[in-house]
């Protein structure tokens, strides 16, 4: 399949057909662009750093030009791509924004999905890709490309996310990607953001299902011309009882939607049936379970002495590595507040957010974290998913994520989403999980087995050794590839 040119019209992803789902692993680079004269692979051969990325020194007269191998040239890597954004045929105004946001090359999901997403007639899509690989940008580019800019007051696209922070963040991404697009209007539909009886008159609406549903029901939001409906973190949206119902209801109220999009880093098998029902005849892009983690995230764990000992270890970690921003996940609100107090005393600018805060407060806290006013964010699972703050270089699992009745089972999906808060788009990050007794160790072990990952153990009693280990592990995660002759 690697040689077959694939453009939007001659999609090889037959909608709904059995063979329509693809996996990254067995896939070769498929030149997705319909440009027979210019094979991007050839360019990659000349300079693997990227066809468009070649450096200044091409004076081959005195030295042999070498092939550059890199993360984005490694076909097994989720950020691999053979193309540039330019080749994907994206509107120049959007391109400009991508440059301003310092996007360099499309990731695999973007390269794979965008031609399908932008194809006419619009087709549904269920897309899975690792955390931090640019899913949001992919659907935002799609939405901005589908809008009718002559009708700035008519809602045309609706994006739904499971939490208000996430909705706010997507709103920000829409604004950023659309910063050079003339006449774009955006609005958030999260609790408290829309006045009662005020009409929602923007082209793109980003919100949470509950609020969006109410707005449509009360006719504040006119859904008659909605063209695109997109669910981010779709698995949790469809799987969680309340959210799933709301999504179904919304879908029933907007019959003219031409394109339904489901995006997530995880799609447990149990959800897929429902997803196919919600998003029929969709192109699917899926991952194998062992491909789910991103190599840039170094995963370690530390055996702590009792629940109390965890704090000392936590405080010491900040002296061990260069930390940008960090997120600490814990189970209970009071633990969160407790750690926050102690870290503040140690001089950290700490922000704590959990469900006890009201919406506006939560928006403000996340904004501060995003803007770098606070460097440490302590939170419960509210923020495990989707939040994208590129400076996060460390994620701490103060408690191992659990699910089920009485938190009796380990929760691998949540673990994956948590550690996915770091290592965004090719950057490196560290995740450290704390275990302190048999049950927490067992839970972590099961999670590791679930994804087939190796966790590195750190020794709390020998900091010099731990320092060496951490440095070595980080080094190896940073190590790219060598220049090949």
């Amino acid at each position: 399949m690697g040689s077959k040119p694939l453009d939007a019209a001659s999609s090889i992803f037959t909608p709904g057909a059995a063979g329509s789902s693809t996996s990254w692993g067995d896939e070769m680079a498929s030149p997705t662009v319909a440009n027979p004269n210019q094979n991007p692979l050839d360019q990659a051969q000349v300079d693997g750093s990227a066809g468009e990325n070649s450096s200044g020194l091409h004076d081959g007269s005195y030295d042999v030009e070498v092939k550059l191998s890199d993360l984005q040239a490694d076909s097994a890597n989720p950020l691999f791509s053979v193309q540039s954004f330019e080749e994907l045929g994206i509107n120049p105004e959007i391109m400009k924004a991508l440059y301003a946001m310092n996007f360099r090359k499309p990731s695999k999901i973007q390269e794979k999905a965008l031609p399908l997403l932008l194809a006419n007639p619009p087709q549904n899509m269920i897309a899975q890709s690792q955390s931090g690989t640019g899913k949001t940008a992919a659907f935002v580019i799609t939405i901005l490309s589908r809008l009718d800019y002559t009708r700035p007051k008519q809602p045309q696209a609706l994006v739904l996310a499971p939490a208000r922070e996430l909705a706010r963040q997507i709103e920000d991404v829409v604004r950023l990607v659309g910063q050079f697009v003339q006449g774009l209007t955006i609005q958030a539909a999260v609790p408290g953001a829309v006045e009662r009886n005020a009409r929602v008159e923007s082209m793109v609406i980003v919100g949470t299902p509950g609020t969006a549903m109410d707005l449509i029901k009360r006719r504040q939001l006119d859904g008659s011309a909605l063209k695109v409906l997109c669910l981010d973190e779709a698995d949790v949206m469809l799987d969680t009882q309340g959210l799933g119902d709301q999504c179904m209801r919304i879908k029933a109220m907007v019959p003219r939607v031409q394109q339904v999009l489901l995006f997530s880093a995880t799609f447990p098998d149990a959800v897929m049936g429902f997803a196919n029902q919600f998003c029929p005849n969709a192109n699917e892009i899926k991952l194998r379970r062992d491909e789910l983690t991103v190599s840039g995230i170094t995963q370690m764990y530390m055996d702590c002495e009792g629940d109390e000992g965890k704090y000392d270890v936590l405080a010491a970690l900040y002296g061990l590595l260069t930390v940008g921003s960090s997120i600490i996940f814990c189970k209970r609100k009071d633990t969160a507040s407790g750690i926050a107090d102690r870290l503040r005393k140690a001089g950290h600018e700490v922000l704590a957010v959990h469900s006890a805060f009201d919406g506006a407060e939560r928006d403000e806290i996340v904004r501060k974290f995003r803007d770098g006013e606070g460097k440490v964010l302590i939170t419960t699972n509210v923020l495990a998913r989707g939040i994208d703050v590129s400076t996060v270089s460390m994620v701490i699992n103060y408690d191992i994520p659990m699910k089920g009745r009485n938190d009796s089972e380990p929760d691998p999906e949540t673990y994956l989403h948590r550690i996915g808060r770091t290592g965004r788009f090719g950057r490196v990050g560290v995740s450290i999980s704390f275990v302190f007794d048999r049950s927490s160790y067992q839970a972590l072990l099961q999670i590791a087995q679930h994804f087939g990952i190796d966790l590195v153990r750190l020794d709390k009693d020998d900091w010099e050794q731990t320092e060496t280990t951490v440095k070595r592990v980080i080094r190896s995660s940073r190590a790219g590839t060598n220049l090949k002759a």
């Binding site: 440059y99 900040y318 460097k375 270089s393 950057r427 190590a479």
Partner: protein, 580 residues
């Protein structure tokens, strides 16, 4: 096997018993032929026979095996001997080759040395000429020079003009002048000269400003540098044919200059010092190492706590306290507790003379080891932090740069009134060569080393990590240089910003790299306003050169170039670049 058996020493009984057995049925009386005893006897005999046979055979086998082994060993030793002989030959051969190579290298070195000397001589000659001319000019202007120009900075070098005219007044030693003079215009790379002029601006710019100070003669020299640089900037010099051969080294005086060489040596010296203070391994413990580790960790924690939009006073205080404590840290080495000291001169570009007014601290010729060590750790941590954060959020470069200034310009942390910032600059030079005029091909190992492309585990880090790192360091550099204080002297003033930008902009097209595009973008993004504050209209022209002309002249419009052009578009709409 039986034919060979007689060789064994226990074989003699064997044939007899064999005979006995064969004879036995004949010798036994007929009536006894079925007697138990006879049968037993026969069985015993045959058993004996077979046992003996077996023993003999075993014996023979072991003998045989031993012999074989012996033979094998002999063969082996012979082979080994032969091999050793061969190896010896090879080694001898290699030695011969090496010797020859060494001789060639030596010859080359000598050649280079003599060439360098010749060049130095040339430079000196030109220097002398320039100085003479400058002196002439200065004499003409002399009456206008107000004596206060010399007074404010005891630390930084005085302007060349000031130096020549007021040698009796300015006490700064001749080195102050000699550190700059390599630059006077004398070759096609003259555009890079902004540094020269910069260093003259240096002292002028540290007091209030460059532009809004029109009357003084010093000020008249201020606008001049930008101009001369700008004229060349849009038209990158045509590199002489020779330069293409060794892009990394032949670039400019800046790279070959004594200052850069010294920075390289400072960096190496610091590396050695760190190894001495904190030797690797558990066995090597000492009170000094413990305290070094602890304080190093505290410095990293503190830098990680810097946040945007806050005053960060706590962090700065903490850092200052750590540094101040290191000045008095005592350890017992034999004769009671004392502060371990070291000569700081290998870690700075020039050695300041002791300050005479008696107020300066650290006025001796030695400084505490721990202090120098921690400054080195601090410098590393600053760059790591900038590389980590500032690419993703350029605003975060500001607090990091401020932290650097809090330490390197603090009056209590100077050496004879001079900032120790060279320690940081040496590390910066190593981490981001592009800022100092180094160029290299990203497609080659040597080029990557020159550019400061990091290796981890012997492998190059990925592009995105490298570019992010470069952008972070670039933004940090801008924050470091574009800064002015009311009551302190910026130890690394704005002219260095101009010099870095000029170093990139004067790069001929074929030697440009994506790294340089990204570094340039990072130097500018978010600092357009400050740049303009210091350089006025010249900043606007420089921005036009950097964001419009420079990327337009790129060989291909790749993402790095487009990013620069997009930044230019924005600068235009924001009014930082004159509208066409």
């Amino acid at each position: 096997m039986s034919e060979n058996s007689p060789t064994g020493d226990k074989t003699p009984p064997l044939p007899t018993s064999a005979n006995a057995i064969i004879m036995a049925p004949i010798m036994v009386p007929y009536e006894l032929r079925n007697a138990e005893a006879v049968h037993d006897q026969m069985l015993r005999d045959s058993k004996n026979y077979s046992d003996n046979l077996r023993k003999g055979a075993e014996q023979f086998l072991t003998n045989y095996l031993l012999e074989e082994q012996l033979k094998a060993i002999k063969l082996e030793t012979e082979a080994a001997e032969e091999k050793a002989k061969l190896q010896e030959d090879i080694i001898l051969e290699q030695k011969r080759i090496q010797d020859a190579e060494a001789r060639v290298l030596n010859a080359q070195r000598e050649l280079r040395e003599s060439e360098r000397k010749r060049r130095e001589a040339e430079v000196k000659a030109r220097e002398a000429e320039v100085k003479a001319r400058e002196a002439e000019n200065a004499v003409k202007r002399m009456p206008a020079v107000p004596p206060r120009v010399a007074t404010p900075p005891p630390a930084t070098s005085t302007t060349t003009s000031a130096n020549t005219t007021q040698t009796p007044v300015a006490k700064s030693p001749a080195e102050a002048a000699t550190s700059q003079p390599a630059q006077p215009p004398h070759n096609p790379f003259a555009q890079v000269k902004p540094p020269t002029t910069q260093s003259s601006v240096e002292s002028a710019a540290t007091p209030p400003a460059s532009a809004p100070n029109p009357s003084a003669p010093a000020a008249s020299s201020t606008p001049a540098p930008p101009q001369s640089a700008l004229q060349h900037v849009p038209i990158p010099s045509q590199p002489s044919a020779g330069t293409a051969n060794q892009p990394a080294t032949s670039f400019s005086d800046m790279v070959d200059g004594p200052e850069t060489q010294k920075y390289i040596s400072v960096h190496l010296q610091l590396k050695m010092l760190r190894k001495q203070v904190k030797p690797k391994g558990k066995a090597n413990t000492s009170p000094l190492k413990d305290v070094a580790m602890k304080q190093g960790a505290d410095i990293r924690v503190a830098l990680g706590q810097l946040s945007i939009g806050n005053k960060n006073a706590n962090v700065f205080n903490k850092l200052r306290d750590i540094m101040k404590d290191s000045l008095t840290y005592q350890v017992n080495i034999g004769q009671g507790a004392q502060v371990p000291m070291i000569d700081p001169s290998p870690y700075v570009l020039r050695v300041p003379a002791p300050v005479t007014d008696g107020t300066a601290k650290n006025n001796g010729d030695q400084l505490p080891v721990l202090f120098i060590y921690l400054l080195s750790i601090f410098s590393k941590a600053l760059i790591a932090q900038a590389a980590q954060e500032a690419a993703l959020k350029s605003e975060s470069a500001e607090p990091i740069a401020m932290a650097a200034h809090q330490i390197f310009s603090h009056p209590d942390l100077l050496w004879r009134g001079m900032s120790m910032i060279d320690i940081l600059i040496a590390k910066l030079r190593k981490s981001c060569g592009a800022l100092f005029g180094f160029r290299g091909a990203e497609t080659k190992d040597t080029g990557r080393i020159t550019l400061g492309w990091k290796k981890e585990d012997g492998m190059w880090v990925s592009e995105s990590i490298h570019y992010d790192r470069m952008r972070g360091i670039g933004a940090f550099y801008a924050g470091l240089t574009l800064r002015r204080y009311k009551n302190r002297v910026n130890p690394y003033p704005p002219p260095h910003y101009w010099r870095a930008m000029a170093a990139i902009l004067t790069c001929p097209q074929q030697e440009r790299s994506n790294t340089s595009y990204y570094v340039l973008g990072a130097l500018i993004k978010g600092y357009e306003g400050k740049f303009q504050e210091f350089y006025g209209d010249f900043a606007r022209l420089a921005l036009e050169a950097a964001l419009i002309h420079y990327p337009m002249g790129a060989r291909e419009k790749n993402v790095a170039v487009m990013t620069l052009l997009t930044l230019g578009d924005k600068a235009k709409t924001d009014g930082f670049i004159p509208q066409a």
